[in-house]
Amino acid sequence: MIRSVPRSRLFDGVYLAYLLAFFVYLALPLVVTAVFAFNDSPFPSLPWQGFTLDWYLAGGEGGRTGLFHDDGLLSALWVSAKIAFWVTLGSVSLGCVNAVLFERLEFRGKELLYLLMLLPLVIPGVILGVSILVFYSGMANDVSRLWGLELDIFRPGLTLLVMGQVAFITTLATLVIAARLRKFDRQLEEAALNLGATPLVAWFTVTFPWLLPSVLGAAAMAFLMSFENFNTTVMLTGSDTPLTVALFNRLREGSTPVLNAVALFLMLVSALLALTTLRQKR
């Protein structure tokens, strides 16, 4: 079934119908979520009652609290942003170092270490969260019991959340950056060294600028993955609830159009982030 092999009209028709159905399937859940963020009804369901911005702007009048006045959701948004910032910083820096390590240096046991680097990809997110909880929180419990010292930093909370997410996002950042480093022409760097640059200067003036698009791409990906993660996050959440966990708790109490408003807001932010990195690449 390639372009040069003749196809029947019927086959083409069926194929196109399938493509169309596929893209409808992809778009439908997101479209309805977005549309009901503006429905003037306390429930996100048909019939359509008219357009409203209440689910963003209402400040408690008529029993409606919009997203921008909902302190619980806004503080959860802020918690998620903080976590995502630190996760991005940590996993992208580690990713840069790992990429240079595996693409540029030769050492004994490299194959084995590379497989270890890939390992987090084949561990379910729940298990990553559980293992970090058991190790660090268990350690904090033991220390508290044996010596009466409180290691609050290792209790469920922001630090553990950042650690749990860095554990697997680093692998993805490494793969993105290493793929770009592999395409780099090393002669450029050698030219810089021949012209008298020190290795560090050559790295920052020649190699790093070449890597920059992939570093930015990895950063956008890391930020989104951290922001949207649930499975690892829910195991490590302390008193400060990140947005996905807060939304999940709300959803179990029953759905309101405020959830749709948050969902649409998140989609727009992600789309914006994705578009800027796409533009960077060109």
Binding site: P29, N98, L101, S131, V134
Partner: protein, 286 residues
């Protein structure tokens, strides 16, 4: 660069990697394994034992859910491959120019929303007061509200939806590199569509198929939101039992044992998939 400077830079780059992989991945998992072999005798004394694993085999609820989760994850992965392959083929081989890029981007768009948002979207569509139910009634095809949520079919629809991107992207990447002369040669030598697909296309796409299947299987097996929010009373997922042990019952020993079992199942199936298809983890993932 002289030898000692080389060694120094190696250690400078190796240290962050080693810290990350040992402190965040290896040691926590070993500790989880250790805790799973502990039995709590009183609030502060622990003994070694296999009690957590015995519980798993004794309570049929545990191992039934375990098997169900494994089988449904395999089925979902296979279904995702079937749904994604024609799409990937169209994007890689039949679409031209701008259409190719646009269709590929369209495949990525749903994944700008998180799993929670996607699941929520499906809930709005499928539930009793949902959009499909309202449409059916408006068309006169149903007399009252129709409940389409809270069953296994709904869970599988949601899981396939979550996995699609991770199947389409590796498939498009490998199919893009397929030499069309090979396909033509297959037809010229008298092969039908199925023969060419089986003998030429699938062997060529194998790295992409394996990589997509591994990622989708891992995601499905480890997913929590979709089965929890879209499944019914009887469609428990194994991850839910791990959550219950840790979050509701504070029984870390039992939870750790269940976690080890899930990790074992996923590693086993990934390993089998690689062996049966003759691929290596480095080739399909790196």
């Amino acid at each position: 660069m002289n030898a000692s400077a080389g060694r120094l830079s190696l250690w400078l780059l190796l240290t962050p990697f080693l810290l990350w992989i040992t402190l965040l991945v290896l040691v926590p998992h070993l500790q989880m394994l250790r805790v799973s072999f502990q039995v709590r005798e009183s609030w502060d004394t622990l003994a070694w034992g296999l009690e957590q694993y015995q519980n798993f085999f004794r309570e049929s609820y545990y191992w039934r859910t375990f098997l169900r989760t494994g089988v449904m994850s395999l089925f979902t992965t296979f279904l995702t491959l079937l749904v994604a392959f024609p799409i990937a083929w169209y994007i890689a081989r039949l679409a031209r120019g701008r259409a190719k890029g646009l269709l590929f981007l369209a495949c990525l768009i749903p994944f700008w929303a998180s799993e929670l948002v996607r699941t929520y979207g499906w809930m709005i569509l499928l539930r009793e007061s949902g959009v499909f139910s309202a449409w059916l009634q408006a068309l006169g095809w149903a007399d009252g509200p129709v409940e389409m949520l809270y069953n296994d079919v709904a869970v599988i629809i949601g899981l396939v939806y979550n996995g699609l991107l991770f199947m389409v992207v590796p498939l498009v990447t490998t199919l893009d590199g397929l030499d069309e002369n090979l396909v033509e040669a297959g037809y010229d030598l008298g092969g039908g569509h199925l023969t060419v697909l089986r003998e030429v296309v699938v062997p060529w796409a194998m790295p992409g198929i394996v990589s997509g299947c591994i990622v989708v299987f891992m995601l499905t097996l480890g997913s929590y939101l979709t089965p929890n929010l879209m499944g019914g009373k009887d469609s428990a997922w194994f991850t839910e039992q791990i959550f219950t042990q840790f979050i509701t019952r504070f029984n870390w020993e039992q939870g750790a044992a269940l976690g080890v079992l899930l990790l074992f199942l996923s590693s086993l199936i990934v390993w089998l998939g690689l062996k049966l298809s003759g691929q290596s983890l480095r080739k399909v993932m790196g």
